[in-house]
């Protein structure tokens, strides 16, 4: 199983924040959305997803609330907090820089 978080520290956190930008989602929804968005490159198992969710909640970037699924099952829905939104912007910018830098290096090689 792919473990994206190992590839680059903070990648999974950034992915989760990004996934939550449009609105609240529960754990399964987040995992699905990441899988779809990355065309199956990142498959996020609960063993990585939950620690990451709790880490983010702990930093105050997201918060979880209990709600109901369509099936009627209770699930915890996570949403971005204002500091989380700020963090997302900051991280995106950081990521942008890294990507530009990386592609410059790699682009020269190719």
């Amino acid at each position: 199983m792919a473990k994206p978080a190992d590839l680059l520290q903070g990648t999974l956190d950034l992915l989760i924040l990004q996934t939550l930008e449009p609105g609240p989602l529960h754990g399964v929804g987040i995992a699905d959305r990441i899988e779809q968005a990355t065309h199956g490159v990142f498959v996020v198992g609960p063993g990585s997803l939950f620690p990451a969710l709790h880490r983010l909640a702990d930093k105050g970037w997201i918060e979880g609330k209990w709600g109901e699924l369509e099936s009627g099952r209770r699930a915890k829905f996570y949403s971005l907090t204002p500091p989380g939104r700020a963090q997302l912007t900051r991280e995106k910018r950081g990521w942008q820089k890294v990507r530009t830098a990386m592609s410059q290096v790699l682009g020269e090689e190719t």
């Binding site: 199983m1 529960h26 754990g27 399964v28 198992g45 609960p46 063993g47 990585s48 939950f50 620690p51 990451a52 709790h54 880490r55 702990d58 979880g64 699924l69 099936s71 099952r73 209770r74 699930a75 915890k76």
Partner: protein, 902 residues
């Protein structure tokens, strides 16, 4: 992570776990549901999910790691930082840790004693079920049936009550007097003093105490009077005397010619039911007459000398037990009154009652004596700790102020305020831990000295004050409170800063609020210290007043030797009297000895009975007379002055008329307006004590205590009243080291079999009655001085710090022409203002709290101006002394250097 979240997390761990469990459960079920919706069977779906992902437990473990791992890691890192930061300023750390150790140690030590004396339950099964019949305040024996609450009982009463009662699952009787006969152990050569508690056979079962070795006493050991020569040894005696040799079982002990067999050893923690006593042996009450010749109470319902303790049956409440007890009690009393009770009998039966007293902590003797003192001391040490905390808080404030730039830098590179607060709290936590650990060590040693201080004589009371779980728990709570109290404010204060100004700040600007805070702390310290010093001087002066009380006799240079004629086989007859006379003569003849006399009562208690004077009507207001039976030289030995008539003389003997010498108070009460010389009086109906002629009157003497007013006392010659007297008073001229041995030799020259041992001197016995006052006076003085000393450190610290901060100001002032003396005066005047504010506050505290200790004072009022004024002057003097050095330093500032610093 903020401090609040951090604490919340540790506190709400269970809720967190439940929440996580539900969340993961829901997640997995959603995954499974999705597969079943695609047509998979539920088993297949479950297996597939299980194969694809980790189990729920593993996920939870990872989340937990993410959470608590972070907490743990952060904590370890904080501790590392903290240790490093503290190690960088060793002087600060040393002072802070020592201050806290003294404060915490004092609290732990006093609490250890308070715990042992006031709080700890008896080490027996379900102590909460135990009740004592009556308050258990009397010790000894009485012949009268009380007209109200009963507290001493006869053996026949105990037996009857035990057999008929419904409310108790066990009932035991214990003799109120701890006996101290001499015993020959295992056929050894010499006799040794042993402490014997006479108990009913039911004693151990009723208390639920199992033997450590052998067996305990049973009902079968308490049937036939004189027929059960068995003994159970206490663990401490077994340890002391036999080094815990199991061979102690079956050993023979000879007490007054009866041979007892040791059948068992009581468990280590068991000391009986009286805190502060520790009998060596428990012997069945059936052996009363053999252990204590002259006592014959087994069949005598008027010989009341026993405590009764009962264990309530499960489900029997206090009210029900009391109702049952009193019902049965009155039935038994009615039986005593016979078939035709008089109206007076019925009236006294109606009034008689037994108050059941909770006995989970045992008999209350020490508790009654020391509870107020111990609580006073507990408050005192709590205040000392408060002052210590204030000191550490002030030190931390000063230190934090010195680290403002460090904090500002760290905050500017992203550290949150919570992070810094946590860091600072961890530092104070480390200080608290170190202080607490050191404090426990200090208190361990201190509580033993304390124990010696509360002991009325040179032998320490047998009380266990070693730290137990409760004491360690107490210390932990105190240490945590200390950390929060001293660390919280400085931490918030230090981190609540405006970044830009702090980064730019030099020494020019004064952080006003911080200064107000530490000045406030100093004011508080001074006020509390003054209050403690005022209290200490009140207690000291009370003690001095007690020490200067005119006892009516000269207590100095009188040694007391304990002699046990019973153990040597004497009976009350002419041989006993002849031995006593010979011993007195021989001991008095030793060079360096002025006089020797046997006495019945030493000091602090005695035998009382009202007197009757022919022709004088009896009244209920007649004061009790204290009776002392003594040798012919006694009054001269005690230097009690004779006012009229003559002293006792060797010519007052069995053949001559029975005589007495009485005190002025006795003469006033029983022979008002006439000369008592030549008149006579009697005591009760005992033929032995009729028609006693008064031959002399002495000045008043104290008899039971120093606080007591003049009470009637009468002295009788032992030659006219056969009785065992166990104490030999000896007045010596100087200090002779060999005197003890010479007295022993003189006694053995009369009879080599007499057991002789040196007891406490008369001065020690008299001083022993003020143990409680001395304890409070000495400790409150020590703690008052400690408080003042700590406050001085506080003042010194704050003044020094301010001078450092105002170096510029002083430099400018001097450059503008201010004299050095002026600067010195400015600093001293500012300190004086602080000290005076604190002192004014402290004065109010002292006056208000003084009312609570008035009952503990003797010969002065709680607002005694001399005591409080003295404390005020002492506090002001040491406070100004503490400001003197820094002020001197301020005056020596070099203006050029000061200005260049900026």
């Amino acid at each position: 992570m903020g401090v609040k979240r951090y604490l919340l997390r540790l506190l709400s761990r269970r809720r967190f776990e439940e929440d996580l469990e539900q969340e993961i459960q829901s997640h997995f079920e959603t995954l499974i549901e999705r597969r079943t919706a695609r047509g998979e069977s539920i088993q297949e779906a479950r297996r597939a999910v299980r194969v694809e992902f980790e189990s729920g437990e593993q996920v939870k473990e990872k989340v937990r790691d993410a959470w608590f791992g972070a907490v743990l890691e952060a904590t370890l890192r904080d501790i590392q930082y903290g240790t490093r930061a503290l190690r960088k300023s060793p002087v600060f750390t040393l002072i802070a840790v020592l201050t806290l150790a003294l404060g915490i140690g004092a609290n732990t030590a006093i609490f250890s004693l308070l715990n042992a004396v006031l709080l700890r339950d008896l080490p027996v099964r379900s102590p909460g079920q135990l009740v004592l019949f009556g308050p258990g305040a009397w010790v000894g024996s009485t012949e009268t049936f009380p007209n109200g609450s009963w507290q001493l009982f006869s053996y026949p009463f105990f037996r009857e009550f035990r057999d008929k009662n419904q409310a108790f699952s066990g009932i035991a009787a214990v003799d109120s007097i701890l006996l101290e006969p001499h015993a020959r152990i295992a056929g050894g050569g010499s006799m040794e003093k042993v402490q014997v508690e006479l108990v009913s056979g039911s004693y151990f079962q009723a208390l639920g105490v199992e033997p450590a070795l052998g067996r305990v006493l049973t009902d079968g050991d308490d049937r036939t009077p004189g027929g059960h020569p068995v003994a159970v040894a206490s663990y401490s005696w077994w340890n002391r005397r036999f080094s815990r040799d199991p061979g102690v079982l079956g050993i023979n002990l000879t007490i007054n010619s009866t041979v007892y067999t040791v059948v068992g050893v009581a468990p280590r923690e068991f000391f009986g039911i009286t805190v502060g006593q520790s009998p060596d042996l428990w012997i069945p009450l059936a052996m009363e007459k053999q252990v204590s010749p002259g006592w014959n109470g087994l069949e005598d319902r008027r010989f009341q000398s026993l405590y009764i303790i009962g264990r309530r049956k499960p489900g029997v409440g206090a009210a029900q037990a009391s109702a049952n007890t009193n019902l049965l009690f009155k039935q038994i009393l009615r039986e005593y009154a016979g078939p035709k009770p008089t109206a007076k009998d019925l009236e006294s039966i109606r009034r008689a009652r037994i108050d059941l007293t909770p006995a989970s902590k045992g008999l209350a003797r020490l508790r009654r004596q020391f509870s107020v003192s111990l609580w006073i001391l507990m408050v005192v040490v709590a205040l000392v700790l408060l002052i210590a905390c204030a000191n550490v808080a002030n030190l931390l404030l000063v230190r934090a102020a010195g680290r403002r730039r460090e904090f500002a830098v760290r905050m500017s590179i992203g550290a949150t305020r919570g992070r810094l607060i946590r860091q600072l709290l961890v530092e104070s936590g480390l200080l608290g831990m170190a202080g607490g650990a050191l404090g426990v060590m200090l208190s361990w040693g201190a509580s033993r000295s304390l124990l010696r201080m509360v002991s009325p004589n040179s032998q320490a009371l047998p009380i266990d004050v070693a730290p137990d779980a409760r004491i360690l728990g107490f210390t932990l709570v105190v240490a945590v409170l200390t950390v929060l109290l001293s660390g919280l404010t400085p931490a918030f204060q230090a981190t609540g800063l405006k970044l830009s100004s702090s980064l730019n700040e030099g020494r020019g600007l004064v952080g006003v609020s911080r200064n107000l805070l530490s000045r406030g702390i100093v004011v508080g310290q001074v006020s509390l210290s003054l209050m403690l010093l005022a209290g200490a001087s009140l207690f000291l002066r009370s003690l001095a007043n007690l020490a200067n009380v005119d006892t009516g006799f000269d207590k100095t240079n009188v040694s007391i030797t304990a002699i046990d004629p019973i153990a040597a086989g004497y009976r009350v007859d002419a041989r006993l009297e002849s031995m006593m006379t010979q011993v007195e003569e021989r001991v008095a003849a030793i060079p360096g000895v002025e006089e020797a006399s046997f006495v019945f009562s030493t000091f602090g208690g005695g035998w009382t009975a009202p007197a009757t004077v022919p022709g004088r009507p009896k009244s209920d207001d007649d004061p009790d007379v204290f009776h002392n039976i003594v040798g012919p030289g006694y009054l001269r030995l005690m230097k009690i002055p004779i006012l009229f008539g003559r002293a006792l003389s060797p010519r007052d003997n069995a053949a001559s008329r029975k005589v007495a010498v009485v005190t002025e108070a006795m003469a006033r009460a029983y022979f008002p307006g006439v000369s008592p010389i030549g008149r006579s009086f009697s005591l009760g109906n005992n033929p032995e004590w009729q028609n006693l002629e008064v031959v002399g009157v002495t000045k008043d003497v104290k008899f039971v205590g120093l606080k007591q007013n003049a009470m009637p006392v009468a002295f009788y010659p032992h030659a006219q009243h056969g009785m065992f007297l166990g104490n030999l008073f000896v007045r010596r001229k100087g200090n002779s080291k060999t005197l003890t041995q010479e007295i022993r030799n003189a006694v053995h020259a009369v009879d080599p079999n007499l057991p002789v041992s040196e007891a406490d001197s008369l001065a020690e016995v008299v001083d022993g009655t003020t143990t409680k006052q001395r304890l409070v006076a000495q400790l409150s003085t020590a703690f008052g001085l400690l408080a003042a000393f700590l406050s001085c450190i506080g003042i010194y610290g704050v003044v020094s710090y301010e001078i450092t901060r105002r170096t510029n100001e002083f430099g400018i002032r001097m450059a503008l022409g201010a004299a050095r003396a002026h600067i010195f005066r400015v600093v001293i005047a500012e300190t004086a203002r602080l000290v005076l504010t604190g002192a004014a506050l402290g004065l109010v505290f002292a006056l208000v709290s003084g009312r609570w200790v008035q009952s503990q004072l003797y010969g002065l009022k709680s607002y005694d101006p001399l005591s409080i004024g003295g404390a005020l002057i002492a506090m002001a003097a040491v406070a100004l002394l503490a400001a003197y050095l820094p002020a001197l330093r301020a005056a020596r500032i070099d203006p050029m250097a000061a200005l260049r610093c900026e």
